[in-house]
Amino acid sequence: MATTAAELPLDERLSRIWETRPGLLGALSSVDHKTIGKRYLVTAFVFLILGGVEALVMRVQLAHGALGILSPEEYDQLFTMHGVTMLFLYASPILSGFSNYLWPLMLGSRDMAYPRMNALSYWVFLLSGIFLYSSFLVGHAPDGGWFAYAPLTEELFSPGVDLDFYALGLTFLGISTTVGAVNFIVTLARTRAPGMSLNRLPIFMYGTLTVSVSILFAMPPLTVACIFLFFDRQFGTHFYQAAFGGSPMLWQHLFWIFGHPWVYIVVLPAMGMVSDIIPTFCRRPLVGYTFVALATVSTGLLGFGVWVHHMFATGLPTMTLSFFSAASTIITIPSAVAVFAWLATIWYGRPWFTASFLFMAGFVVLFVIGGVSGVMTAAVPFDWQLTDSYFVVAHLHYVLAGINVFPVIGGIYYWFPKMSGRMLSERLGKWNFWTMFVGLNVLFFPMHILGMLGMPRRVYTYPVGLGWDTWNLVETIGAFLFAVGVLLFIINVAWSRAFGDRAGVNPWNAPSLEWSIPSPPPVYNVAVIPTVASRHPLWEPELIGEQKSRIHEGPTLTDGRETMATTTLDAQPLAVLRMPGDSYWPLLLALSLAAFFYGALLGWWWLIGVGAAATFVSITGWLWPEPPAEEA
């Protein structure tokens, strides 16, 4: 057996080692980062559509003042779930999907550092999403806003399970986010191809690295806040109840210490994608790579010092307000650095107007609009007018739809050929871009004006005759235009998956390692572990006259599932990592946790016990030493 296996061609041998068992059972056990990455992308996109439909229903209700399409209960549930969905179940997971799929390919690695944790991270994300959405089945979706300010969310004012779904769902989801973040950090530190020192990483990886570190510090405050809330609601503690010595402000501080870094968590990887894609289509390296990398990291750090700008109207002392106003102002500088790096790259490059590039170029404008409106809210006295008005709704949607959704869609146009082996239709793609770009601006720009006309946010209806009706109608029209854009995107993906042009290895003549791998990539990613000699391994012949990076020769590592471990700074070869095989434990662990959280939701102690016991068993099984791998 051993001799015949050794005589097989390399790709055959690697495939046998890395392939997942066919069929449903195999699929449930897969730890392949490409499979998990695609699952993340598709699941997050489904949540985008759910959140989008919720938004459309709200826009219909708000098309004119005093409409009665939605009851206040329904509206409150919709706007809460819209926020929860978009921020927790779409914006961050979709970026995890990109990182999951792309990182090992960009790093010249065979998988993430912790493949089974990767699977766990996905299953927990999926199940916590289902957990949150199962609230609709019982007609009690969370209705306290995605920010869930106490004491409104306390049992006294929000009886029922609505807010329990929220507190437990976000705690559950936090496991996924944290596990994923740890995985990205270690993957980046340990599994880069030899020679890929820290100054040769794509900016996208700086984005994801920064946010992964941020997550480790940002998630605990949210988890603590949610557990306190759950205890207040179920066990009679008084963390947020002023009458008993608690403080509603505690919730706000904990929530925003998490919440503001979270804003950067859902945009920095997307900005990183822009920083990598613009140079490809401008056919030149990014201007100021080091500045942009540093800007990314410093934004992540500064992001922890600005949370109070969500609380300028809560009556804090002037000195506190000034400090956080200054911090919120300073955080603009790294963003400005990135903007002028993109502008200069375009200016001194030779743009190739693909659909993907259009999304990136459109993004730059949306980014700046969302940025300057952010600076306006950093000015405390003016923020006293802006905050909780529609102006802030405009600002945050330019940030989230502009800085997250646009790079995501543009990123799919860019990497879809790699993932599927087929090109997306460029013609449809341009229609897609213009519909979404115009739609987004028609939808969100008037919200600035409405805010300035004094319209408060989070209202299920508004009085007619205050000059708000026309702008609201315009927004609703914009919302449907934007939805048409998203529909065009879905049509494009569905059609091109079956009928698109064949992509080839590197259709965009892009510089990074993933474009040296066949499209779609083989299950083992790279036949040989490459050695990297520069920031743009595939552009070396054009930039420095010779191919210095060795892409197609190097260690093959065929003794079981293996990949190369390298040192953190310089990526010198360190060891051969033995990788785990496919496993059911991640799924079982996630299901056990789901049982635990449903038990807590329903107050069924037996189910909590079963979930806890099953969690213990799953972790034990997971950690049980595997027998030494047999040669295939």
């Binding site: 009851s71 206040p72 209960e73 409150d76 306290g144 300010y149 004491p151 409104l152 004012f157 002023a242 009458a243 403080s247 509603p248 402000m249 056919r283 030149r284 201007v287 100021g288 500045f291 109207a313 009556g315 307000l321 106003s325 102002t329 300073i330 603009t332 400005a336 650095v337 790096a341 502008l343 200069a344 790259t345 375009i346 200016w347 490059g349 730059v364 404008v365 700046v368 300057v372 600076v375 306006m376 000015a379 006295p381 003016f382 006293w384 007018q385 802006l386 905050t387 909780d388 300035m452 006309l453 004094g454 408060p456 989070r458 299920y460 009085p463 005759g465 205050l466 000059g467 708000w468």
Partner: protein
């Protein structure tokens, strides 16, 4: 009741009718000359009424915009706001021009990748220097404004405690002797040109006190002792809103600030301090009986009577108020009857229950309440 930002009570259809009718009857005379087809005329007439109403509304559409302010604090905030808006627009325009220019400018042909070391100065000047200059200016201006707004321009002569309830506002006038302290609801009367000190308290969840035309917002939170000052520079009726999501009827938690001359204010104060007017007409007297027998007194106070409920708004001078239901309905007998008989249809989830009364009882109750001026 004049000046910018005069939103007054929501105009009712009945009040608008007279004006429309005049317009349309004039148009109608012309139309009758044109055609005898009554169906056509009716359609056209409806169209014209619609158009006139739309024009009227557009004319009256006074939004509570804070970009033009009638308040001492609000006007400084607006000045800062305009400066920031103009800077922001300029920055967006600059980037858009550089982007479009960068995309459109002519280049030597070729598809190869170029090395390109140029362009880093863009980051020095555009990405670092320009923002530092602009932000330093913006931050300085903002901080100067912030410290300037910390104290009112003069010693406040009027002290009011504003208490946020789900979903209405209670105003407690604190000045004068203890027996002169009184409560009113959803309406804050202030003298023009005088700083007014507001203590902001909440009875339940977090609310936020916002009169866009006069000043920015400040939260009312349980356990916190926030305060703010406002000063109206022009007389008028200004719309106030709750700006922090506070549950089901957050959208219907409004109030009015009535800024009037110090003399008018003093007269209003004297009226409000007095106990409720004793009913004189037979209708009103019967209404007082209805009030006493219906569950009203359990929640509402009418000073000088046995009604001492503390759950809902004090109704001692309800007839003098501009609005009903926390600023959402004009205070007319018709709307008051509608509010009492179907509050849950108008404001679902509010703590004002729908009161079932015989039509005659309802009518006398409304007469009584309207008489409490």
């Amino acid at each position: 009741m004049s000046g910018a930002g005069d939103v007054g009570p929501v105009p009712s259809g009945g009040e608008r009718g007279g004006y429309e009718l005049r317009v349309t009857s004039y148009e109608l005379t012309i139309l009758r000359l044109v055609t005898r087809n009554s169906y056509f005329v009716t359609r056209l007439r409806k169209l014209l009424i619609g158009a006139a109403a739309a024009l009227l509304l557009a004319g009256c559409a006074e939004s509570p915009t804070y970009m033009t302010s009638s308040g001492a604090a609000g006007s400084r905030e607006a000045a800062l706001g305009w400066t920031l808006t103009i800077i922001s627009c300029a920055v967006v325009a600059l980037v858009a021009v550089l982007l479009v220019w960068g995309l459109a400018r002519r280049r030597e042909s070729g598809t190869g990748v170029s090395e390109g070391r140029e362009g880093v100065s863009w980051i020095y000047y555009g990405g670092v220097l320009m923002p530092i200059v602009v932000l330093l200016f913006a931050f300085t201006y903002s901080t100067v404004t912030l410290t300037g707004l910390h104290h009112p321009p003069g010693e406040p002569k009027v002290h009011v405690e504003v208490i946020g309830h789900r979903w209405w506002w209670e105003m407690k006038y604190l000045d004068g002797a203890p027996e002169g302290v009184f409560y009113t609801a959803n309406e804050l009367h202030i003298p023009v040109g005088v700083p007014v000190h507001l203590d902001l308290r909440s009875a339940d969840v977090i609310h936020s006190f916002w009169v866009p035309k006069l000043a920015g917002k400040t939260d009312l939170a349980p356990g916190s002792e926030n305060s703010m000052w406002i000063e109206a520079k022009e007389p008028g009726v200004y719309l106030g809103e709750c700006a922090e999501f506070c549950g089901l009827q957050h959208a219907h938690m409004q109030f009015r600030v009535v800024a009037e001359s110090p003399r008018q204010y003093a007269a209003w104060l004297a009226d409000q301090r007095a106990p409720a007017r004793v009913p004189s007409e037979p209708d009103e007297k019967r209404g007082e009986q209805v009030f006493a027998n219906a569950p009203c007194a359990g929640c509402h106070t009418i000073r000088g009577t046995d009604a001492e409920g503390k759950v809902g708004p004090d109704l001692t001078h309800v007839g003098s108020r501009l609005t009903l239901g926390a600023g959402i309905l004009p205070n007319t007998p018709g709307h008051m009857a509608g509010w009492i008989a179907s509050s849950q249809a108008i404001k679902p989830g509010s703590y004002m229950p729908t009161i079932y009364l015989k039509p005659a009882e309802l009518q006398t109750l409304v007469s009584y309440l309207q008489s409490l001026r």
